[in-house]
Subunit: 163 residues, 3 copies
Amino acid sequence: MAKDDGTQSMAMICWSSDLDRVWPVLILATTAAASGLEVDVFFTFWGLRVLQRSDVRITGENWKQKLESLMDPGSTDRLRLGKLNMGGMGTKMIKMLADEHKVSSPTELLEMALDLGVRLHPCQMTMELYGLSKDDFIEGLQPPIGAASFINMAAEADITLFI
Amino acid sequence: MAKDDGTQSMAMICWSSDLDRVWPVLILATTAAASGLEVDVFFTFWGLRVLQRSDVRITGENWKQKLESLMDPGSTDRLRLGKLNMGGMGTKMIKMLADEHKVSSPTELLEMALDLGVRLHPCQMTMELYGLSKDDFIEGLQPPIGAASFINMAAEADITLFI
Amino acid sequence: MAKDDGTQSMAMICWSSDLDRVWPVLILATTAAASGLEVDVFFTFWGLRVLQRSDVRITGENWKQKLESLMDPGSTDRLRLGKLNMGGMGTKMIKMLADEHKVSSPTELLEMALDLGVRLHPCQMTMELYGLSKDDFIEGLQPPIGAASFINMAAEADITLFI
């Protein structure tokens, strides 16, 4: 619900690393922040990969973690459509369309989100599962948190979404 | 939160054109409206195709938009399961089961939603991406809106869902 | 919104039987309940299969229902990743990683949820579609409900999520 000073807030879970899901996450986050809402986004499961630096490729400490990082490459530059990807052609086509219609890319939107004060929270448990450390992520993130912290934020938020 | 007169409301995002996601969107929308809630549904990304008229097939102005409309045919009559579609067999089977158990089809539910006063909002940005105009859609829709308008609705709603 | 005694609540829809979606449902449900929130989870569509007993395999009364139960085997023991399943290898790998990092399995989390007082509601309509009866489910569930009952719960909840 709205805070005493009237500020409203949104708490979202970014669960996916699919381009077609990350795009709405970042468009909603930046739009809400630009409209004056406080915005928290919890990056968990596949979604944690969105925060990966583009110059970091293979991550993790053991073969399972390294293999997973190869299959799901991460970073906003390398996201693929979850539907109609068609070996990359669908992803390329939608990016061309977005570009022609001046829709910002996920990489641009993520920077914009940080500029607008959106709080980006990596999931601690997923970091451990994947063997990821803070050095694998872009700068400007909040400290890693667990599900309990997200629940606390969500319980006070006006808008809660799982994307 | 509930309005001063006690009316409650729900704001949903219909993001997908998969039969198994559109069905819950429309069942929840009609059920909530029948229970007295005000309901807003924002059709964006793949979900915008749900509002397409069944007699409109190829849409858009350039080859990319036309190709996309062929891959993702749109209209409530042509939705396919996102899982276990199995070349259409899964979709056919679930439709037969739904029919036997008197579960309304998405096309019937969409009409019902309009009759019950559910507000259906097409996403302006997705319309531009796909090259869709109002003439490609069914009648009775609200004017196209952007993410900021949806955020405003959601911030006042009692239930917010991304489907 | 919070009740008069200050208790907060969460209402979730578990729509999927994919391991990577059921895991967050159950982690969020148990975490919220452990934090003192009242938690309701509505298991519908593919998600209903999560509640299936592990010793029940083929379900339903006619060939369509039986075939569906074969394609989507159900029970928390048999869930598969919706992404990067790779013929079961991805699912096996993520389960190994989870085990090494002491992340509870869905089966353990479901038991924990019941112990913590999370209310698990099977969807009446989906039960009829699939031809499932109470005997096909684990013990400790709430009576089957429809979408209208879920809407009532969600309208009073502080957190609403569709997963």
